[in-house]
């Protein structure tokens, strides 16, 4: 450590105009020359000059310098243990991890009571519509909502809530962390309600999990998360939104994750129900579930990055095989990446996953030169096809389909998706003769987890109704992202 400081001193001492490094034997000098303008306050400006300290920060946040536009910038404290509201008149700054509540400590067998005897603090973080939250670029800055605590981030189409890095734009990836929510929901590492459930969570977020399938960790409405996915450990990036055992009492509607270095949204167990998801330009998988996730998701548009490593869905059960991951995904449009480096499949169903993909479209970007496989099912998930826990129903497969997988092909349509500018399908098969009856669906597939009270009975295939005058995503997502 001492050595580093010395090196730093020698680097700083030479900080002018341009930068050179040269190494000669053991001797190294690094000379930085050039503009000495700095990012005071880290609010993301190269123009410099403005060093006015923000005036309107509440006493529980720390004032940073105002940003280039003159907005107040207030840094959130590293822990939030009381109910707080983030108001839209301030740019809220994440210097590092901000932890809401203490439910990520080790829990006793009684939810709400920590193993060390302390009580879980049930804290609500409210975020007003139109609020900007910015993570420090180049760090693992992230917002962590722990078990028992809630986030109430309710934006509007006109004024969505935006999480991003603290630079000027909304492009780039891996620049900051992301949003992590832990709940008391079910996780297949915890199968015995008599014992404490403590699942060591994604992104070094502490413990999550429990036995309350209807856990309510708050609301995310009209929320955008972009530029996240910082690599916090070698080879480990963080997802845009990580949901660890978040239950069905939680609301998620109109949420976009854009250009994340890792997955867009990853569900680790839990049973959250979500509608209106837009996952764009994410570098790993867009939709990822594991460890016994059994939520319902309806209206999803996935457009993979052209430079992706991942697939539109990467799905696992393991964890353990105590209970399967088998969510219902309805009215989704999956558009695989176009790059030559893309994997040659669009859905990656593996590690024993189940799932019900209904009224959906699998396609590739129109510029694609390859014809990827629609679905890869790994050996350990294949048994779920015949067990009817892995089901594709009313799905347009505009890609290469391997019929030997053994799916019931009577409701699979190997036709062009023919997507229009609103991502609605022009295919005749996209128009169903009648709305889907979820109760009947559950009758046909007894293992289905479809919640008829949550899912709409749509009569079309794809995320967008071919007959709608406008798409539900327009107006609130990031410009140019779709």
């Amino acid at each position: 450590m001492t050595f580093k400081k010395l090196m730093l001193a020698s680097v700083m001492a030479a900080a002018f105009g341009g930068l050179y490094g040269c190494t000669e034997g053991d001797k190294t000098s690094v000379l930085i020359e050039g503009d000495t303008t700095t990012n005071n306050g880290g609010s993301g400006s190269d123009s410099g000059g403005t060093t006015t300290v923000s005036e309107n920060c509440p006493d529980w946040a720390s004032a940073k310098n105002k940003d280039a536009s003159g907005n107040d910038v207030c840094a959130l404290p590293s822990t939030i243990m009381e109910d707080r509201t983030l108001t839209r008149d301030i740019v809220w700054y994440l210097q590092d991890r901000v932890t809401v509540g203490n439910g990520n400590g080790e829990m006793s067998a009684t939810e709400g009571e920590l193993a060390n005897g302390g009580a879980v603090q049930n804290v609500t973080l409210t975020i007003e519509s139109g609020t900007q939250i910015k993570g420090k670029k180049g760090t693992f800055a992230n917002l962590l909502i722990t078990r028992g605590s809630k986030i109430t981030a309710v934006g509007t189409a006109a004024a969505p809530i935006v999480f991003s890095s603290d630079d000027d734009d909304y492009t780039g990836s891996g620049e900051w962390g992301g949003l992590i929510i832990g709940g008391y929901g079910r996780h297949n590492e915890c199968d015995d309600a008599a014992t404490a459930c403590n699942v060591d969570g994604e992104g070094e977020s502490g413990f999550a999990g429990g036995y309350s399938a209807d856990d309510n960790s708050g609301s995310l409405e009209y929320v955008i998360v972009t530029e996240g996915g910082y690599e916090f450990a070698p080879g480990d990036e963080i997802n845009g939104i990580s949901l660890v055992a978040v239950g069905s009492g939680t609301t998620m509607d109109h949420v976009q994750v854009n250009a994340n270095s890792d997955d867009g949204i990853e569900f680790f167990g839990g049973a959250i129900h979500a509608k209106h998801l837009v996952l764009t330009g994410n570098l790993d998988d867009s939709l990822d579930w594991d460890e016994g996730f059994q939520g319902n998701i309806q209206y999803v548009i996935v457009k993979q990055s052209a430079d992706t490593f991942g697939t539109t869905i990467e799905a696992d059960t393991f964890g353990t095989d105590a209970f399967l991951s088998k969510p219902v995904v309805a009215n989704a449009t999956f558009i695989g990446g176009a790059g030559a480096s893309d994997p040659n499949f669009i859905h990656n169903m593996k590690e024993g996953t189940g799932g019900f993909i209904v009224n959906s479209i699998l396609s590739v970007d129109s510029s694609s030169t390859t014809d990827p496989a629609c679905i890869r099912v790994s050996d350990d998930a294949k048994a779920n096809i015949s067990a009817q826990t892995l089901v594709y129903h009313n799905v347009i497969l505009d890609c290469s389909y391997d019929s030997t997988l053994g799916f019931d092909s009577s409701s699979l349509f190997m036709v062009s998706a023919d997507l229009n500018a609103s991502y609605a399908s022009g295919a005749a098969e996209a128009q169903l003769s009648s709305p889907i009856d979820w109760t009947a669906f559950n009758g046909t597939y007894p293992e289905s987890t479809a919640d008829a009270s949550f899912l709409d009975a749509t009569d079309y295939i794809g995320a967008v109704d071919p007959n709608a005058s406008s798409a539900w995503y327009s107006g609130w997502i990031l410009d140019g992202s779709l």
Partner: protein
């Protein structure tokens, strides 16, 4: 303690010094027929010319190193044949009792003249007695003493004297104040032999004493005195003879020959199925720091066998041992100076078919000359400037984006070299060893030294490797499925300098040990990555230097009259260091779209590790032997020890960020990093190219300290000549602190502390049923404690096994109750059978368990105090000589085996056996000696039962190490007396090393058959 009570004569001061070397009488044989000296028999050694047993029953021989065969005959009738081994420079005393009514019995005592006061005090004793006359009349009041020692007696009124001394060489000095004359006589005392030496002091004929040699001798009660049988606890000893015979180059390979001992990764010892925190290692009485970041265990491949004089595996706890010796205490004693100037050179060449001479992947930073000794000469340092740039980027707020980008660009350029694999030819393994020692006598004492150096340079491999993982589901197909080949250039260098000073009742020794093991390892894997479903080609390049340094000062003192009070002390400073600069991890994935490998730039990592343990250990031990009574003999021992250890662990990791969105071409059709990481592509901006990234984790570096202060007391009573009871206790104060930083969040400092006191009682009881049978029982308490990282609240990545470890600050120390029962039966000096039963009961045992985890935290472990555990087992050890018709040929068979079972009850009710515990261990050694042609052939066989190397994660089965039959064949011939040729075929069957999970291959590789040939030259 003595098997037989010291009976009458006041023990003389036990001195340790040698008289001039007796080059031609290394072997002294006493033969008795029904209690009387068996004069007139003939004795022949190794088929040589027979010699006549003298009137006193003795005969002497010159003796060389190796296996020997002694034949006693009368008129061509062979009465008794005796086989034994001797090391170079060893003295051997043999007593044989022939009986008209029963089997002949024999005992063998081997020793070096250069031994410490205490060693000699423990040795069997003989006596010398006789009559001193002057001018034919008994001389009363003459002093008969031992040169250089306090021992002296006066002749009684009838001119008689008697001195009881440990076996060895002495010069008696006879002096009578009346006339001032001094006479001297060299005598060799043999254990349990009363030697008669009468002295006639001439009148005016000069000062020289005229010794009238032995009039008669008498045999004392039979003794079978040998280390194992006189120990109060259960010890398995490997002496210098066995170490030489087994031909293992490292201590870790040698200890495998001991019952119930297994070795993991060729370096970590498990005793009775217990490893890690349950085994302690001491070097000449001092504790050792470890070079392993995640274990307290000392890796034993650091210690070459040829600097070791004796290895003891002590399986029963006694109060003088470290309190954590639940499985046992491995005692390494290094060699000391010889009794006369002697040296040895040895040279060995090794060849592995399928590796040596072949072209193998190698480290691009390799430099034949500068790497030759195993020290990295800066080739693998962090590229100059990178640390500075990483430090500067921590303060990125202070710079504009342009400056940051420029820093990340230059950092990236500095970091991009030496990442492509090189190729080289695997050279034969060359081992060179030399040692030399000498001794100088001076008035009243002697000074000696021993210096040894070893160097080894060669290649090893893990060939035909398979590494797989499995899903929790039952499909049975591999998830990750890789083939790998690993080749490593191994460079070992070690040295020992031992200086000794014997001043009568005081012995001083200074030992300097330097030992280094360097591995330059390249592992290339290719296969399917289960997560991404891509074909992947990966390699890692490691350079790992492990070094052990120690400087010891040891002293032994015999105090007070009668030599009843002995003091032992040691002060040791030691350092263990693991320096692993520039581990490189490179991964290329094959994308099916274009069938071209792409460099996975974000996965590329260069890591620099440096871990240093500094250890100071001081101990002071006392022993007081009470005046023997008719009832028995008692000894009170007590001592104190203080250990301070400090660890500094530093780690830095660097790599790259970006490239994904930038459209930069990461195609690497030739799988060359240099095709992708070019100056043009490293833009410093992840949006347009690649940029330098500091990937160091806050918890990668930590500091830790421990203080262990202990005091112990032991009372040992031998009574009624048949029973021995030892009662003792050890008190330990332990304090350990670990300082690191939170991995996520505010990265604040985290400190964990353990501070506790423990009292550990011991009780052992030995019953010497008869001359040839013994029964031992012991009940003891030991302790086990968490290691540095295990109690830290911070999360660590275990780089070795690639899993995430969450420490547990609530860990408690664990207590263990041990019960031992052992029966021993001896047929002769080297024929015996022992059967031992052991049971251990653990309270709050510390176990590594799976941490339920999600996503990136998956594959996590943590530590837990399990509810309880027990372990029990039986071990058998036997050695018999095989009758061979043809004279001049010997054979023996040695077998040991153990069966062990255990159960640990975990939180939540699960139970399984302890990790690392094999179901059984088996060793079989077949030895064959052709004495006339000085040839020796040894076949060694080792196999251990299944053991759990890692518990299964999330419902997956445990990872099991499968049994593996290891067969070695050693051959040695003494071409001429000082010149030997030796050959070895190691791992004759080339058995695969295999780990399975649920019956399917988890990892498998083979290391190849090792052929070795070499020479030893003594001078």
């Amino acid at each position: 303690m003595r098997r037989f009570a010291v009976q009458h004569i006041a023990a003389a001061a036990l001195s340790c010094y040698a008289v001039a070397a007796h080059a031609d009488d290394e072997l002294v044989v006493y033969v008795f027929q029904d209690g009387a000296p068996a004069a007139g028999l003939t004795a022949a050694l190794d088929g040589g010319a027979p010699q006549i047993v003298g009137n006193d029953g003795s005969v002497v021989f010159d003796l060389g190193e190796g296996a020997h065969r002694l034949v006693l005959s009368r008129d061509d009738e062979t009465l008794h044949v005796l086989r034994f081994n001797a090391a170079s420079g060893q003295y051997v005393d043999v007593n044989v009792a022939l009986s008209a009514h029963g089997q002949p019995r024999d005992s063998i005592e081997r020793y070096f003249d250069a031994e410490s006061a205490v060693e000699r005090a423990e040795a069997p004793k003989g006596s010398v007695s006789g009559l001193v006359t002057q001018d034919g009349a008994p001389l009363a009041g003459a002093t008969v003493g031992v040169r250089g020692a306090a021992a002296a007696v006066q002749t009684d009124a009838s001119g008689r004297y008697a001195l009881r001394l440990p076996r060895g060489h002495y010069t008696l000095v006879i002096q009578h104040d009346g006339n001032g004359a001094a006479a001297t006589s060299d005598v060799r005392i043999v254990g349990n032999i009363d030697k008669h030496e009468n002295f006639a002091i001439g009148g005016s004929a000069g000062d020289d004493g005229i010794a009238e040699i032995v009039v008669s001798s008498s045999l004392q009660p039979r003794a079978f005195e040998e280390n194992e049988r006189f120990a109060t606890n259960v010890i398995d000893t490997l002496g210098i003879e066995e170490l030489a015979r087994y031909g293992d180059s490292e201590v870790s390979a040698s200890v495998l020959r001991v019952p119930s001992v297994t070795v993991q990764d060729d370096r970590y010892v498990f005793i009775r199925g217990l490893g890690g925190r349950y085994v302690t290692t001491t070097l000449n009485g001092a504790t050792l720091p470890s070079t392993d970041p995640s274990k307290r265990t000392v890796p034993l491949d650091l210690f070459p066998s040829n600097i070791v004089s004796q290895l003891d595996v002590r399986k029963t706890f006694i109060a003088s041992m470290p309190g954590e010796s639940t499985g046992g205490n491995l005692v390494i004693n290094t060699r000391s100076f010889p009794q006369a100037a002697a040296g040895k050179l040895s040279l060995t060449l090794g060849y592995i078919p399928g590796l040596t001479g072949d072209d193998v992947a190698s480290d691009p930073s390799r430099n034949f000359t500068s790497d030759l000794l195993g020290w990295d000469h800066g080739n693998r340092d962090v590229p100059g400037g990178v640390e500075g740039i990483a430090a500067a980027l921590e303060y990125s707020d202070e710079y504009s984006d342009n400056v940051q980008q420029e820093l990340r660009r230059v950092g990236g350029i500095l970091l991009k070299d030496h990442l492509d694999l090189d190729r080289t030819t695997a050279t034969p393994k060359l081992s060179f060893g030399a040692n030399y020692g000498d001794v100088y006598g001076f008035g009243g004492g002697e000074f000696g030294f021993f210096v040894a150096g070893n160097y080894k340079n060669g290649w090893s491999q893990r060939d035909k490797g398979v590494a797989r993982t499995y899903s929790a589901g039952g499909s049975g197909n591999a998830y990750d499925d890789f083939d790998f080949v690993e080749s490593s250039n191994d460079i070992d260098a070690s040295g020992l300098l031992s200086l000794g000073l014997n001043l009568g009742a005081n012995t001083f020794q200074a030992n300097t040990v330097v030992s280094r093991v360097t591995e330059n390892r390249v592992r290339v894997s290719q296969g399917l990555d289960g997560d991404s479903a891509f074909q992947s080609y990966r390699y890692t390049i490691d350079w790992i230097e492990r070094q052990f340094l120690s400087q010891q000062l040891l002293g032994e003192h015999v105090l007070g009259a009668g030599g009843r009070f002995t003091v032992n002390w040691q002060l040791t400073g030691s350092q263990a260091r693991r320096y692993a600069p520039d581990r490189r991890e490179v991964r290329f994935d094959l994308r099916e779209g274009d069938d071209v490998y792409n460099l996975q730039v974000p996965n590329l990592l260069r890591r620099y590790d440096d871990l240093t343990d500094n250890n100071v250990d001081g101990a002071l031990d006392f022993a007081y032997k009470f005046e023997p009574t008719d009832f028995g003999v008692a000894t009170l021992s007590f001592g104190a020890q203080a250990i301070h250890r400090k660890r500094d662990a530093d780690s830095q990791s660097y790599g790259y960020d970006g490239g994904l969105q930038s459209g930069v071409d990461d195609n690497a059709p030739n799988r060359l990093v240099s095709d992708v990481l070019t100056v043009d592509n490293i833009t410093g901006d992840p949006g347009t190219g690649f940029a330098f990234q500091d990937k160091t984790q806050p918890s990668d570096s930590y500091e830790a300290e421990l203080d262990l202060d202990s005091a112990w007391l032991s009372y040992d009573l031998m009574f009624l000549e048949r029973y021995q009871i030892v009662l003792g206790g050890r008190y330990e104060h332990y304090r350990q602190t670990t300082d690191t930083f939170q991995l996520a969040g505010d990265q604040s400092a985290v400190r964990s502390v353990i501070d506790e006191n423990t009292f550990l009682p011991t009780l052992s009881f030995n019953w010497f049923i008869d001359d040839v049978q013994q029964l031992r029982f012991a009940a003891t308490r030991t302790v086990s404690r968490p290691d540095f990282k295990e109690t830290s609240n911070a999360v660590f990545y275990d780089q070795e096994f690639n899993f995430r470890v969450r420490g547990n600050p609530n860990l408690k120390i664990s207590k263990v109750t041990n019960l031992d029962l052992r029966w021993e039966r001896y047929w002769s000096e080297n024929e015996s059978l022992s059967v031992a039963l052991f049971y251990k009961d653990f309270t709050d045992p510390i176990e590594r368990v799976v941490q339920a985890a999600s996503g990136t935290a998956g594959n996590s472990r943590t530590f837990q105090n399990a509810d309880s555990a027990y372990l029990y087992g039986v071990e058998v050890d036997t050695r018999r000589n095989l009758a061979f018709g043809d004279a001049g040929r010997n054979a023996f068979v040695a077998f040991n085996g153990s069966y062990i079972d255990s159960k640990v009850k975990l939180d939540g009710g699960d139970a399984r056996k302890l990790q690392g515990q094999p179901d059984y261990t088996v060793n079989l050694v077949l030895g064959y000696d052709d004495v006339p042609t000085a040839q020796q052939l040894t076949l060694l066989l080792n196999q251990n039962g299944k053991n759990i190397v890692d518990v299964g994660v999330s419902g997956r089965p445990d990872v099991i190490e499968e049994p593996r039959l290891k067969l070695d064949l050693n051959y040695k011939i003494n071409v001429v007396e000082n010149f030997a040729f030796k050959a070895k075929v190691g791992n004759l069957l080339n058995s695969k090393i295999e780990f399975t999970q649920g019956g399917k291959v988890f990892q498998r590789y083979e290391t190849g058959v090792e052929l070795e040939a070499g020479i030893d030259w003594k001078f």
